[in-house]
Structure formats: C-alpha cells, structure tokens
C-alpha cells in the first residue's frame, strides 16, 4: 500500500461518489472551455468584421495634412518601396495588407474621373468589395483594365472601354455599392497608372491593415510605432485613431466578458468542490476515526484529501476540456454564427485551473478531517 494507491483505491471503488466529485469540477471547467472557445471564435469574427472599417494605419508623405479627400488630390509622393519595408517590422506577421495607392484625375467625356492605381493587396484590405455579390477575383484589373466604382459606372454610362489620356482601358467589372468613397472612383493596376502619369515607383499613400487590433501584448499604436521606426522621416505614419479606438474598445468589451466568465466559473467550481469535499469528510468521519485509531496522524489524513483533490482536479480538467470543446463545437456555430474550432492550448490551462481550484477548495475540509476527534468519529456509524 502506498499513499497514491490508497487514494486511487478509495476513488476507484467508490465510483458513484468519485463521479459526483468529478462532475462538480467538470461542470465549471466545461463552461470555462466552452465560453473561452466560443468567445475566441467570436473574437476572431469580430476582428474580421472590425477590419472591414478599412485600413487602420495610413502612411503619407510628411507635411501632408491627413484628409481622405486631400489624399485623392495628393501631390506629395512616397517611394513605393516603403510598402515592402513595412512588412519587415518585428510584428510584420500581424499585417494583413499593405496597399500603396497613386491617385490621378482624368476627364472622360464630360465626367471628371478620380482614378486610383492599386495592387492586389487592396482585395485583402477590402474583403467587402463585391461584384454581383461575389468576391472580386478575376475582375481585378490586370494590364490595361479598369474597375469602376458603383456611381462612377453610372456617371460614365454603359461602356465596355474607358479612355484615360491616350490609353484605352477595358472595363473588368463594376463594384457593388460600398457606401464609401470607392463608389466614386475607378481603379487600375498601380504600375500602369505610374507609367501613365510618369510617376514610376511612386505613390501618394500607403494604407496598412493589421490583424492584431488589441492583442494582449500589442495594439495598433505599437505597430504604428514599429512602422514609423522602419521608415525614413519623409513618411508620416498615422494610426487611424477613430477606427483604432472603436476596434480596441469593442474587443476590450469581449475580453472583459471572458474575464467575468472566468471569475464566475472559478467561484462556481470552487464552491461545488468545497461542498463536495466537506460532505466527503462528513460521510467518512467513521472511517477517519478508524484510521486515526490504527495509527494515522493528521498529516497523513490531510495528504489523503489533498491528493484526492489533485486527482479530481486532473480528471475534471481533462474531462471538462473534452466536454467544453464538444459543447462549443456543437452549440458554438448557432451562438457565434461562425464555425468554432477546438483550442488545444486550453487543455493544459483547464487541467491547471481545475487542479488549483480543487486543491484550494479542499484545504479547509482536509484540515477539518485531520483535526477530527477519533473517539467521536468512531462512535458514528
């Protein structure tokens, strides 16, 4: 007989009581895992949706006042290569899209047309761009092709070609209404517009979209700082404060909600385990009396109960993770409106939290067991 053996035999041969104990902690941990998994999916979805506000960092030539309208008229220029430098920052992995843009105005018939030269990163930065309610793919302008904004197309009329300067551009598609300035613009490949306007490898603005809006260690302002350090002084890096604040604020609310769930789960789990352990001590008073009579000391009894709590914690943590994951995968899509994948790294956290709760909640009942009067305990049957 060893201490571990003694405890496992007690648990194994009193299956119903052991199961009841495991259920106490399993309930709390499964809620924790399910809430965390669903919230993680919600968080990702929210992040994706928040990105739809558009680029959250703007790089423009130094001295230019930040104004969306002014940018479309911008005369000051930046080297296009700055876009590549941006991707080399330490947290470059958090950058979803770097969209350099060059703007120029053309007169088409009696319509003044605002044309932007763009790269394919524009699609990544603007996943809401649709043509006939489908994501823009083949219609993205290549070579001498032009993509028309919704109202621009209405202004120029039903044409298959548009002449910009001396060049003729085939209309590759007409964007669905976006409700943004894009509706009033037309888009051609960046290098084509650069050639057409004689501004080779130059742009007016670089728009950056990041995926990490409010990570635990990084936020948008930190990434903007990194970009600022990576670029020469002639570039001005501006985090779009309004968007950043809204994004950070919304995601902080989600994080706060998750935190409340943690606290409720910790309290609920601890309370249930403490109740369970207390009732176990009461149920086993007579047995504790026997053990004391035949030579157990208080420390040994204390060890039994804490070890039992440890086993309950580990089993409850593992089972709670499994159940919570199943619940989140089954119910998550309805609650979060998005597929909910399991989060493997929650497993060690579940076991650690479960074990910590079980042990903490068992300290007082274990002390009570260790301090029982053997004679009184023996008199109880």
């Amino acid at each position: 007989m060893r201490t571990v053996e003694f405890v496992t035999k007690e648990m194994g041969r009193r299956k119903r009581k052991t199961t009841a104990g495991i259920l106490c902690i399993l309930l709390g941990i499964s809620i924790f895992v399910a809430a965390q998994t669903i919230n993680s999916a919600l968080y990702d979805k929210a992040k994706e949706q928040l990105l739809r506000f558009g680029a959250n960092i703007i790089i423009q030539p130094g001295g230019e006042l930040f104004d969306t309208n002014a940018l479309t008229q911008g005369t000051a220029l930046l080297p296009e290569v700055y876009g590549k430098r941006i991707q080399t920052i330490e947290h470059g992995g958090m950058i979803v899209a770097v969209s350099p843009k060059l703007h120029e105005r053309f007169v088409v018939g009696d319509v003044s047309l605002s044309v932007a030269g763009i790269t394919e990163d524009e699609i990544k930065a603007k996943p809401w761009w649709m043509i006939d309610r489908k994501i823009v793919t083949d219609q993205f302008p290549q070579g001498n092709e032009i993509l028309l904004g919704h109202y621009t197309a209405a202004h120029v009329g039903p044409v298959s070609q548009v002449k910009l300067g001396d060049e003729v551009f085939r209309v590759s598609g007409i964007l669905d209404e976006t409700g943004s300035a894009d509706d009033l613009m037309a888009f051609v490949p960046l290098h084509i517009l650069q050639g057409l306007t004689g501004r080779e490898r130059l742009v007016n603005v670089i728009e950056v979209s990041t995926s990490c809006i409010s990570c635990s260690t990084m936020n948008l302002y930190d990434i903007a700082d990194e970009i600022d350090k990576a670029l020469p002084d002639d570039a001005r890096v501006i985090p779009v404060k309004q968007i950043a604040e809204a994004q950070i604020g919304t995601l902080t609310k989600i994080e706060d909600f998750i935190r409340i769930v943690y606290i409720v789960v910790l309290c609920l789990g601890g309370f249930l385990v403490m109740n369970y352990m207390s009732s176990t001590v009461s149920d086993r008073r007579h047995e504790i009396g026997i053990l004391l009579a035949i030579g157990a000391d208080a420390r040994k009894l204390y060890t039994f109960f804490i070890l039992k709590a440890l086993f309950l914690g580990v089993i409850g943590g593992l089972a709670g993770y499994a159940l919570g994951t199943i619940i989140s995968m089954a119910a998550g899509p309805q609650l979060a409106g998005t597929p909910v994948p399991p989060i493997l790294h929650l497993l060690p956290y579940s076991v650690a939290i479960s074990t910590a709760i079980c042990i903490t909640a068992s300290i007082l009942p274990a002390k009570r067991a260790a301090q029982l009067d053997p004679v009184e305990a023996l008199q109880e049957v």
């Binding site: 007989m1 060893r2 003694f6 035999k9 007690e10 041969r13 009193r14 007579h286 047995e287 026997i290 053990l291 004391l292 009579a293 035949i294 030579g295 157990a296 000391d297 208080a298 420390r299 040994k300 053997p374 004679v375 023996l378 049957v381």
Partner: protein, 215 residues
C-alpha cells in the same frame, strides 16, 4: 506495563470515569465487564491515548500519554496497540489483505514488506483464500479475523478489544476468543471489554466497572 493513576474523565458535569487507578502487567489478559454506559469503552480509549484524561495520568511502559503531542501519540499508538472493535471497522473499499496492510503502511513499512506480513497474518487467522475479498464479501467471523490480523500487523504488544464478539454468533465468538487467548499465550497483553460473562471467562482476571468506578 500499563498504569492508570487516579484517572478521571468527565464531559462537562457528566463523569464517565471517576478516579480509576489500575496496573496491567505485560502479558496480562483482563476482561473489563460492566453494564452499558458504565465507562468501559472510555477506559479503553484512555488506555489507547484516544482520549485525554480530565485529571490523572495514563502511563504505558513508563511513557505518559498525556505528555505526548498528537503526532507522537499516533506513532506510539500504532507501535504499541492493536484495536479490535465490535463492528470490526474494516475499511470497506479495501480488500482483506489491504486492510491488514494499512497499519504497516502508516508505520512506514515498504509495500513488499507490508504484503508479506499481511499475507502471513491472514494465513495465521485462517483466511489464506480470502486475501482479495472486500469486507462485504466476507462473513462476520471472517471480518473479525481480518480485524485481528490488522491489530497484530505492527507486532502490537497490547490488544484492545471492544466487544469483539458482540456481532458474532456463539460458536464464531468462541473460535475468535481462541485466537485471542493464543495471542495472549505468546505474550501479548489483552484488554477486553465485554458484557458477555462466557467471553469474560477467557481472561486471566476480570475488572468490573460500574458508574465509572472499578468495583
């Protein structure tokens, strides 16, 4: 030698044992008899150090139990005493052999030694084929024999038996007392609480306790 010096145990105003003095020599076999509630079990618990006297002193081999701390008293108890209870008090989720191993485990014996000693003791009480049975799978007589084997596990020099035959039929009870007498013959001191005169007859001498006093 066990010595009680003017031991009194009371619970508030209720006296359970009043000014009891007694000497028990090593190898003695004493039956403690008396009516229910007379203080017999209290006497046994005081000897074992499970209770602390309100006044007076209990000495076992010259050691005053009242002067030992809880841990020392637990260690002393497992070294000196073996308990046999009326209700056997086996641990329900442990097999017969595991029940006998428990005092050895508390005494820090290696698991291999625990198993060897427990096997030897169970064989001695005639339970060779019942090693791996749970108490619920044993007859009452068998359960009490497991309890005796458990009491002897740490080579206890004193057996404290509280109504050990109380739940057994006459024949099984007498068989059990045969084992106890045999142990006493090997030098083990036995203090036996009983209200059964026939069982008390197995002892070398009898002490009667009435209203907390030795008569």
């Amino acid at each position: 030698m066990i010595e009680l010096k003017s031991v009194t145990k009371s619970y508030g105003s209720i006296g359970a044992l009043n000014n009891v003095s007694l000497q028990v020599e090593n190898g003695d076999f004493i039956a403690i008899v008396g009516p229910s509630g007379s203080g017999k079990t209290t006497f046994l618990n005081l000897v074992a150090g499970l209770l602390t006297p309100t006044s007076g002193e209990t000495l076992v081999d010259g050691v005053s139990l009242g002067k030992l701390g809880p841990r020392e008293r637990a260690a002393f108890r497992r070294k000196k005493f073996g308990f046999v209870f009326q209700t056997f008090n086996l641990i329900s989720y442990l097999t017969a052999i595991e029940n006998v191993e428990i005092p050895l485990y508390f005494a820090g014996a290696h698991p291999t030694k625990q198993r060897a000693r427990a096997s030897q003791l169970l064989e001695k009480v005639g339970l060779k084929d019942r090693f791996f049975h749970l108490p619920s799978e044993l007859s009452l007589g068998e359960q009490q024999r497991v309890a005796i084997a458990r009491a002897l596990a740490n080579n206890a020099s004193v057996i404290l038996a509280d109504e050990p035959t109380g739940n057994l039929d006459t024949k099984t009870g007498e068989n059990l007392m045969g084992y106890v007498k045999e142990l006493n013959g090997q030098g083990v001191t036995v203090l036996l609480v009983t209200h059964d005169a026939a069982i008390a007859d197995f002892a070398k001498r009898k002490i009667e306790i009435v209203d907390g006093r030795i008569m």
